[in-house]
């Protein structure tokens, strides 16, 4: 019998992980997602360097530029992303409690709010173009389109990731003992939050 050959300690089902006690070696999600996240951070560090250099060269364009943009669009996107991020935090917490149906509901709500970002962006760009703000309207707007559209691409990857883990959750692919994939999608999604929290003041607030 297999159970006679395997020591009792190895047969025991490992306890569901809890995070009330810090584990300072724990890697949330998996190692692969962190390679991707660090690549994204390096990529945006380069983009932000371009922003700083452009701002240093054209201070007047960066003083006037934000006045022409719709602050309400930037603020709405920020609130959508932060609230979507909140839903994803709740989804991970629900999975830790082995509540798959609750996890799925939070994930779907998070995706729904996340999809609001491209929708607001669509109307923002339409409004911009109607007011003569296209990619050739000046250096500020060139950098604005370059950074915000690049961020939007990363948000699409994040939404695809959330869609994948929502599907896996729906078919019972995760449990309180194995949800690394869900957590990987969550940390990537929150990374897009961190990047946007820098982009928002750069184009809508700072002069």
């Amino acid at each position: 019998m297999a159970s006679e050959l395997i020591p009792a300690a190895e047969c025991a089902v490992p306890p569901a992980p809890t995070f009330s006690i810090p584990d300072l070696n724990r890697v949330p999600g998996n190692h692969g997602i962190w390679v991707g996240i660090f690549c994204v951070l390096v990529e945006f560090l380069l983009f932000f360097t371009v922003y700083f250099v452009a701002k240093a060269h054209h201070p007047e364009a960066f003083l006037k530029g934000p006045e022409q943009l719709a602050t309400v669009a930037g603020t709405t996107i920020t609130m959508l992303l932060l609230t979507s991020g909140y839903c994803v935090v709740k989804a991970v917490a629900a999975m830790r409690a082995d509540r798959q149906a609750t996890t799925l509901r939070w994930l779907l709500l998070g995706m729904f709010l996340g999809l609001g970002y491209p929708l607001v962006k669509f109307f923002e760009i339409r409004w911009n173009v109607a007011h003569g703000i296209d990619g050739e309207a000046g250096i500020f707007y060139t950098v604005y389109y370059y950074l915000t559209l690049n961020h939007l691409v990363h948000v699409f990857w994040g939404l695809l990731g959330l869609g994948w883990v929502a599907t896996r959750t729906a078919v019972g692919g995760y449990s309180a003992r194995d949800y690394a994939g869900l957590e990987a999608a969550a940390v990537y999604w929150h990374t897009t939050d961190v990047i946007w929290l820098i982009i928002f003041p750069f184009f809508y607030v700072w002069r």
């Binding site: 810090p22 300072l24 724990r26 700083f52 201070p59 609230t83 961190v194 809508y204 607030v205």
Partner: protein, 93 residues
């Protein structure tokens, strides 16, 4: 109704975002605006990293890299405000 930890973090983030939107309407270049923008990026970034990503209870090295990211960018905000013309001279082709 008692708010949970995640709800409190979300409320702080939303409150700071709405404050930023109010600041956006000032339309003035000033040291105070640059310092507020730098502080907002550093503080909001840390809130997301530590509480949304749960890094305060996870791998120290990864957390340090993420914190470095939301420290370097605010520093660059301050440096660009203080030394804009010098940066322009140094980076002129």
């Amino acid at each position: 109704m008692k708010l949970g930890h995640t709800e409190k973090i979300w409320l702080i983030l939303i409150g700071l975002t709405l404050s930023s939107a109010f600041l956006a309407e000032t339309g003035q270049r000033s040291w105070s605006l640059s310092l507020i923008v730098a502080a907002m990026i550093a503080f909001k970034g840390r809130l997301v990293i530590d509480h949304y990503m749960e890094m305060r209870n996870a791998n120290r090295r990864i957390r340090r890299v993420l914190h470095a990211f939301v420290t370097v960018i605010p520093l660059m905000v301050v440096i660009t405000h203080a030394f804009g013309p010098q940066i322009a001279r140094l980076t002129a082709l």
